[in-house]
Each structure stands twice: as C-alpha cells, then as structure tokens.
Amino acid sequence: MDSGYIAQQLVNGLILGSMYALVAIGFSMIYGIVRLINFAHGDIVMIGAFATLAFIETVGLPFPLVALCVFLTCCGVGIVIERVSFRPMRGAPQVTGFIASLGISIMLQNIGILTLSAQPRNFSFPGYMQTILHLGSVSFRIIDLVIFLTAIVLMVTLVLLVKKTKLGIAMRATAENIDVARLMGININHTIMATFAIGSGLAGIAGLMWGGKFGQIDPLMGYVPGLKSFVAAVIGGVGSIPGAILGGFILGLAEVLFVGLLPPIYSSYRDAFVFGTLIVILIILPNGLLGKDLEDRA
C-alpha cells in the first residue's frame, strides 16, 4: 500500500463526495427552510437524468442549454410536488411530510418503471468530458473536475442567494417563524414554492452529472443517492448549505477509504458502514458539524 495508492483513493473519495455534495445541497436547502426531510429528492435526481437524456438525444440541444432546460424541468416537477402533496399538509407534524415524501418517492420510481421501462439505459456526454487527466500517479476525468467545481459554485451561489437577496431574506424569515413572516407581509406560499423549485432544480443538475459520470441511468437510480445525501446532510448539519458540501465530501472519502484500506471482504459492507455512521453522528453530534441549534437554523 504505497503513497500513490492512497493518493488515488483520496481523489476517488473526493470525486464520489462531490457527487453526494451535489445531491445534498438541494436536500439540505429544502430542509433548512421548510423543515421537510424530502425522501423524494433522490427521485428528482432520476427525473433530471432522464430529462437530460431526452433533451440531448430527442431534442438535440447544445450542452449548456441542456443544463438550463433540465434545471427548469426539475423546478417545475418540484413545484408540482409541493403544490399537490406538501402544501395540503402544511402545519401538520413533521413526520407527516416525511412519510408523504417516501410515498412520492415510491410512486415516482414505479411510474418510471412502468412508463420508461426498468431497463437501464446508456447515457453519453460529449467525448471531451471523458478525457483522462494524469497528475503524478493519480488519474481522474474532466467530468470529475466539472462535478467538483459545479458543487462548489452552486454552494457559493446558493449561500449568496439565501444571505443577500430579497427572496433569501424571505426564505430565512419563513424558516424562523412562518406566522410572523406572514404578518410581515411575506407571501409564504410563493417563498416555499421557490424553495422547492430551486432545491429540485439543483437535484436535476445532480442527475445530469450522475448520468454523465456513470454512463447508465434507470428509474431506481435516485433512491440510494437520495439516502446518502441525507446522511451527508446530517453529517454537515441538516439545513446548512456549506455543511451539505462538507458532509458530502466527508461521506465520499469515508466510503472510499473504508473500501480501499480495509481487506476486500469488507467491501460489500460499505452501505452498512454509511448508515452506521449516520447513527453514530446522530448520537454524538445531533446538529452535525456546521449545524446550529434548532431555533436559528437556515
């Protein structure tokens, strides 16, 4: 086990972590503002991946435009889901929304299987994205770099949006106290809808990147990433956007190093390890690394 091997595993971990981070940002944002653990988030990643496929192969749009269309499509999906299933439950206990999101998740997966067929499909990005770069003994692809940078850029943009814009202020006010925010003249319905739209749009972008990285998509692809982004968000502190990124990287690194540094026989326990970590974090650090106390989290 030389240093080149460990360096490669660290890079592998960071790359996988940036994928989790990308999914976790939207997840954490929705939780931070609406206090909803949205298990359907991973399935919006799946919708984003299939939308990308449709826009590239059927419509034939150029790449940057595809990203925009996928973002908007998933915004739309997020708005519909919020309107149909979460708005009627506003004010209900948190667990109601959580269970509803599980229901939506199962529904989206099986609608996908029935309409799109369960067969995995291949998915290809332009060839230059697949170019392999070598840095000493470490190698990675351009797409991995793009994913890493996208995760960072989206995090910064989102933090600025929440801290500096009028919509962001409205979001934070809503998160803090929904009734007082309403008294202050904030349109609660619009604010929450915008939160869902942006969070789901980000999931769509994550779907585009997942498809591009792994080259294969299917209607059940979002389930595990959805769960793992939940773990990433908990590690970083649910509701904290920089925390989601940090949690994603930590989770990716931990997972790859778990497989890479232990004897191979443990490789198949990687998911057990991830969810075991979740339990430990919840016991010793319930607010995560960057999370604040429940009251002023946003």
Binding site: Q9, T115, P120, Q216, S267, R270
Partner: protein, 383 residues
C-alpha cells in the same frame, strides 16, 4: 406510445389479480415475476416472453383440441414475502403449473408451496444447480446450472485466453452471483490458476473506483478479471475498469449478457470482454430468429436480454409436456415434464437426463471486441 399504454394497462390488469376464468376450458398457468423493484429489468422481459408464447400458442389453436392457455401473472415485487404470497394466490386460482423468477432467492420462498400441492413449477431464469434437489420433484429449470456456465468460462479463460492469475469480483448481495463466483473459483483452482485478488460489491453500487485502485495495485498482476454481477452492474464495471486504463480481459457469466456492456462504456472501450451465456445471442438457429422477429413485432423493441427467450421457453416447455401427456392434470404434466428429451427451446435443447435434473444444455462463449458480439464456441457439459 399506444403500445406502452397497452403494456401498462396489461401490467395493471395482471396486478389486480381479478382475472376471472371466462371459460372452464382454459388451461391456467401462473407467472411469478417481479415487474417492480430491482429485479424488474430482468423479470419484465421474461414475463413478456411468456405472454408472447401464450399468445402464439392460442393463435395456433391452443392445446388439447382447442383449449386456450391462460397466463395469470402476479407481481413478486422483488420481495421474498411477496413471492410467497403470490404463489399462494396463484395456487388458490387453480393453476396447473407455475413459471417464474430469475434468481433462486425468490424461487426458494415460492416454489415449495407448489411442491406441497404437487403442482409443477418451472423457473425460467434461476440457475442454482441444487434447486431441484432442494425443492423436490415438482421443480424444473429452463436454464443451465451456474456450475455449467462458470465451468465453461473458466475453461475458456484457461485454455483460450491463457489466464493463469485471475482476480475475482463478486456481487455479495445475491445467491446467483455468489454461486457463480464459487463455481468459477472451484474450476480455476482445479485447472491450476491462481486467484490473486478477491473483491466484493453490492447490487446497486455505482462507484467502483476504490476496488479498481486495489485491482491496479495487485501483485502478481492478474491476467484477467472475473466479474460476477447482474446486468445492472455489467456496463458500469466494464466502463470504469477500462477508463482507469486497464486493458486486461474481463470475463463473466450470463449476467453480462446485455447491451449495456457496449452502450455504457461505448464501442471503443467495450473490448476484450468474454462471457458464457445461454445459446441465444448472435445465434442463427430458426427458433432464435423466429423468436426475435415475433417479440419485436409484438412489443416494438428487440428482446431486452436472454431472460425474454427464457420466459418464452418456460411456457413452451410446459405446452410441449401437456401435448405429450395429452392431459392438463398437474400429476401427468409433472411426469411428462420430467421425461422431456431434446426439446428445441429458443435458448438451446433441453433434456432432463441428469440425476440432478438440471438440463443438459450448451453454453455459448461470446466475445465482445470493439462493441461487436461474436460466438466463440459452444461449450457442452458432461452428461
């Protein structure tokens, strides 16, 4: 689109289980496939193959002087409890035989219920060779056993590819993939190969970078890697291994019998992959060409994988046994099935001559070079 809707409607209809018997004349066969959940990418083609066989038999006048076949399908939901419950539902509706499942994990909870009532169960895709022994004289297999397919590719690795040091990756989540690796390793050691690395993953894993880094760092360097997986991970592993710059031959069993090993990595990277599978892909026997044509006409897509013809064969095998027995009674059917000799199935000839009652079938060795599939040889098991 209309076909899609029809298909959805059919699936929904079959899931409601409210299929009443319209005529006392029909011969009822129960089908247990997981059309939802992880197994659906394998099981749905099997169910469609079975439905196609029923349709063709009925269009040709049915069996036993005009009695129609009726396929009653229950969704096993990729869930062992649902599989057992489904078996009970089918048995309560008076089926004379059951078909289904592509993995022993689902045969084991459901087939014993058929066995208890003396009703034959034909598994179209489960390849565990000890299944007939474990369940009893009512269980019949359409495919070869995992021992045969693993021995076939191990022989090919050693004799033709000249592999001496081999790495083995196993999907540790399924009985099928674990059995495949077990038999491959068994034969590899008998032939004198060294197993230089064993690594594991789970169905649904997407990222294999950690395992690949370890594979690269293994010494002595492996001459080939055996990957035991189902189709969902076949394309992903091939793509990621090739993208890491490793060019060693990749060998596997019928889990690799999918378009995904070419479409996911792309034609240039889909190189030096070899797998053993049912004699079907790239085969030109008349049964195969007729099946591909009928399936494509019925569903508007070519058969998705070898599980489609296996589902078709399950129904055809039962129909053949009913005709030979001249009876649709379970007991006569069971005896007639056991006597099957040289039945020309789409996936190769089926004879139940072994004591283990695993069919003696040829195994295709298929190579993939620059995205093209070629049948390299047909491996025959010892009788």
């Amino acid at each position: 689109m209309k076909k899609y809707f029809m298909f959805i409607a059919l699936v929904l209809l079959s899931m409601t289980l409210a299929t009443p018997s319209f005529s006392a004349e029909t011969i009822k066969i129960g089908a247990l496939y997981s059309v939802t959940g992880y197994m659906s990418s394998i099981d749905t083609p099997s169910l469609r193959g079975a439905q196609l066989a029923v349709k063709i038999i009925n269009e040709n006048g049915g069996l036993l002087n005009g009695r129609k076949l009726e396929l009653i399908s229950v969704d096993a939901k990729t869930d062992q409890k649902a599989a057992a419950l489904g078996a009970k539902k089918l048995l309560s509706q008076g089926v004379i035989a059951g078909i289904g499942h592509s993995d022993p994990s689902f045969v084991l909870p459901s087939a014993p219920l058929f066995q208890k009532k003396g009703i034959p169960f034909v598994t179209s895709g489960a390849t565990l060779p000890t299944l007939p022994m474990m369940i009893g004289d009512c269980l019949f297999m359409v495919p070869f056993g995992d021992d045969d397919q693993s021995f076939a590719i191990a022989d090919y690795s050693y004799n033709t590819l000249g592999v001496r040091n081999v790495a083995v990756w196993t999907d540790n989540s399924m009985d099928f993939t674990k059995a495949l690796s077990k038999f491959y390793k068994q034969r590899a050691l008998e032939l004198g190969m060294n197993i230089v690395l064993e690594d594991f993953f789970m169905m649904g894993d997407k990222d294999f970078s950690a395992q690949i880094a370890r594979l690269k760092n293994t010494s002595p360097k492996p001459d080939a890697i055996f990957i035991s997986s189902i189709p969902n991970e076949a394309g992903l592993t091939t793509k990621q291994i090739r993208e890491s710059g490793m060019t060693l031959p990749i060998v596997s069993g019928d889990g690799f019998d999918t378009e995904l090993i070419v479409t996911v990595p792309g034609k240039e990277l889909a190189n030096d992959v070899y797998f053993s599978t049912h004699t079907y892909r790239a085969d030109s026997r008349p049964e195969v060409t007729a099946f591909v044509e009928n399936y494509t006409k019925e569903y508007g897509v070519a058969p998705e994988n070898a599980f489609a013809p296996l589902g078709y064969d399950a129904v055809a095998l039962i129909a053949d046994a009913i005709t030979r027995a001249n009876s649709a009674k379970p007991k006569a059917l069971k005896e007639s099935l056991a006597k099957t000799m040289g039945f020309k199935a789409v996936t190769g000839e089926i004879s139940y001559t072994r004591a283990s009652r695993v069919p003696v079938k040829g195994v295709s060795i298929i190579s993939v070079k620059n995205g093209n599939y070629t049948v390299e040889e047909i491996w025959m098991p010892k009788q």
